[in-house]
């Protein structure tokens, strides 16, 4: 069958393209050009694409498959980068990779794959798609250190049905690299991508400054009883639970709340958590209903027991043990290895 493969130029999606070609499918590699690499790295005369698109093209050549670069700069800027800055300005801690998966990879790219007559789209994500009695199910990757299910909770059931994730069954990244080497792909030893792709230097403040300079204006750090403890250099530099960058008068305290309207950071002692967490934008990968599950409140969080009650397009979590939940982050529901759904913390 005709299969579209989302190729980033990294080793994972390159191996996926190779596996699909080896299985005898007609493979179409598609790389989204997300941002102007030359401008992002501020190197004069640098190509807009950078090394990754070049690598994706060379892999496609090597595999003898068609490959196209699709300009998604405008879409990425609006749906991911600008939304990222807006979230900080609203006092949230966003996860841009979820927005990118949701709007670009499993949105536009998947639609394009259908337009081009593909019967499936394969990606290099570490997650498994298994057929179950309710249709396609999403499960954690076999290798827990690589599992990306938390970042993919917003994939709809219809999208999931169309997708293939061949790397979810691999026991380790080393195994994937070995396949790349065996296929003769030059990217076999390429370093893993780090952090947020459009923040090459690791400092997201520059992006926030460009889109929402107001989120980097100074404000007050205030105790829960209203006492002013000091000042800060912009709410975008803080996230719920953070202890760094607080004035001396707030030593041993953490950020409890961020108030974008007044630009105030409210701090308090550690350990006073809440058991009730409200979610918006919930995506269900099972029939929506009140249920018991384990939830993850951030990417590297451990699983916590919770009762989940759907509420309109959102849901209410009641955690067995109170915990700190940062608005903007995702809460993802698990039943064993299976992802039942998830939503964004309000």
């Amino acid at each position: 069958m005709r299969v579209a493969v989302a190729m980033s130029g990294g080793v994972d999606s390159s191996v996926v393209a190779g596996l699909m070609a080896r299985a005898g499918h007609e493979v179409i590699g598609i790389t989204l050009q997300l941002y102007d690499h030359g401008a992002a790295t501020a190197r004069k005369g640098a190509c807009c694409a950078g090394q990754d698109i070049y690598d994706a093209k060379r892999v496609a050549d090597r595999l003898g498959i068609a490959h196209y670069v699709v300009d998604s700069e405008a879409r990425f800027k609006n749906s991911v980068m600008s939304a990222f800055a807006d979230a900080y300005a609203a006092g949230e801690t966003p996860v841009p990779c979820i927005a990118c998966n949701q709007h670009l990879k499993f949105g536009d790219l998947l639609d394009m794959a259908r337009d081009f007559g593909a019967e499936a789209m394969a990606t290099g994500h570490y997650v498994r798609r298994l057929d179950g009695p309710e249709g396609a199910e999403m499960h954690q990757a076999v290798d827990p250190s690589r599992d990306q299910s938390w970042f993919l909770f917003a994939t709809t059931r219809e999208q999931l049905d169309f997708c293939r994730f061949p790397l979810g069954d691999y026991a380790s990244k080393a195994e994937v690299r070995a396949v790349a080497a065996e296929m003769g792909l030059a990217v076999a030893e390429k370093a893993d991508s780090q952090d947020i792709c459009f923040v090459p230097s690791g400092s997201y403040a520059g992006i926030v400054e460009k889109f929402r300079p107001d989120a980097l204006e100074a404000g007050e750090v205030v105790a829960e009883d209203g006492r002013v403890l000091g000042s800060h250099q912009g709410i975008a530099r803080y996230t719920i639970g953070q202890a760094k960058r607080l004035p001396d008068a707030a030593a041993h305290m953490v950020v409890k709340k961020i108030e974008p309207g007044t630009r105030r950071i409210i701090v308090g002692p550690r350990g006073t958590h809440s058991a009730v967490v409200r979610l918006r934008g919930v995506n269900w990968l099972t029939a929506p209903r009140p249920l018991r599950a384990e939830v993850k409140l951030r990417a590297r969080d451990s699983l916590r027991g919770a009762s989940i009650t759907p509420e309109g397009t959102g849901a209410v979590l009641t955690l067995d043990e109170p915990a700190l939940a940062a608005p903007g982050q995702a809460a993802v529901f698990y039943d064993g290895t299976r992802i039942l759904g998830g939503g964004f913390i309000i």
Binding site: I28, Q33, C47, C48, I53, D115, G117
Partner: protein
């Protein structure tokens, strides 16, 4: 799957005469700059090629400077002619001209032809400028009226350089005779191999080499000449071109596509016989390109960055097409095209239109 190559303006298929000449030159031992017998044999090939090019271009052999291609020829022309002169370039020029440092832009009309009154006005304010204009546009095929432009330039003491890349072999003119100071050409755009081009420049104009090297090309372009590519270029430039037949195939394709809602910018202007630009309103150029490529049909759109990412066409933007400048493909028929392509192309185009207009367009 039948594959159709309809992207001749990117590169023409190699013609058999060029292939033969290039292979023979490749088998010839010797550097044209050497004094010994093998050197003389190589030099004979080079100078025979120069004479053939001069004849085809209505110029003298000494006017022909061989180089790597038109990008280099254009740079050499601007270097030689632009000293101390303001540089004015047409809005629809190729990037090798348009993006020259400090170049000011000359307006075009909605049909893609040069706004001659505008040229006259601009030159009145900037006499003695260097004006760079293409003979034929690579995206629309539209021909500028070089003869008229040359007269206006002469009246204002301006020099004219013509980028003749798409016109050579398809719409040859004696551009030097019309008053141009120089023009550029590239072998692979008319059936020669890639890697050789030439600047044809009026006698008496001094050309200081951009790369001095060993003083080749009378000190005007250093570096050993790419003899096989030059021999192929010279063989290709004398090949006949079936203008009327190619135009009729192009017109048939264009009529079919416009009947399905496409717009053909520049089609009312004088233009090359092999080129049509086709806007499909509401459908991104890259979507059209990919769909046609998957159907085995090679066309192009706008100008691709080295990433393969497509920018909206600056040519159609200059002609006033707004966002539709990002919704056009270019069909350019090769010299060896036959009428068989018409049913194959039109069937694929119709299928593409049906799918793209049914599915939600990717306008993001």
């Amino acid at each position: 799957m039948t594959r159709l190559y309809l992207d001749a303006n990117a590169t023409e298929p190699l013609c058999p005469a060029a292939r033969g000449a290039a292979l023979a030159a490749m088998e010839t031992l010797g550097n044209p700059s050497s004094i010994h017998a093998p050197g003389r044999a190589a030099r004979h090939i080079l100078e025979t090629a120069r004479e053939a090019v001069a004849r085809a271009c209505l110029a003298r052999p000494a006017d022909v400077i061989f180089c790597s291609g038109a990008t280099e020829a254009n740079a050499l022309a601007m270097h030689a002619l632009g000293k101390g002169r303001p540089i004015l370039v047409g809005a629809t020029e190729h990037d090798s001209i348009r993006t020259a440092p400090s170049a000011a832009i000359l307006r075009v009309n909605q049909d893609g032809t040069l706004d001659l009154a505008g040229l006259d006005e601009t030159l009145a304010a900037q006499p003695g400028a260097l004006v760079c204009l293409m003979a034929a546009n690579n995206e629309t095929g539209v021909l500028h009226d070089i003869e008229a432009a040359a007269k206006i330039c002469a009246a204002h003491g301006a020099l004219l350089h013509v980028d003749a890349v798409q016109a050579i072999g398809r719409a040859n003119r004696g551009w030097l005779g019309m008053g141009a100071a120089s023009f550029s050409l590239s072998g692979h755009k008319f059936g020669g191999p890639m890697g050789a081009g030439a600047l044809i420049i009026r006698r008496g104009i001094e050309v200081e080499a951009l790369t001095k090297g060993g003083g080749q090309e009378q000190g005007r372009r250093g570096g050993t000449q790419a003899l096989p590519a030059i021999a192929g270029l010279a063989a290709a430039i004398t090949q006949p071109y079936n203008n009327a037949q190619i135009a009729s195939i192009r017109d048939e394709i264009e009529a079919f596509c416009t009947s399905l809602g496409a717009i053909a910018p520049g089609s009312t202007a004088p233009r090359l016989p092999n080129t049509t630009s086709l806007i499909l309103p509401g459908v991104r150029a890259e979507t059209q390109l990919i769909a046609l490529d998957m159907a085995g049909i090679a066309v192009s759109a706008g100008s691709a960055c080295s990433s393969g990412k497509l920018a909206a066409s600056h040519v159609l933007t200059a002609m006033g097409y707004g966002e539709q400048a990002g919704q056009a493909i270019r069909v350019s028929l090769p010299w060896n095209v036959t009428a068989d392509v018409v049913p194959l192309f039109t069937a694929a185009y119709a299928a593409m239109v049906k799918r793209c207009l049914r599915a939600p367009a990717h306008s993001a």
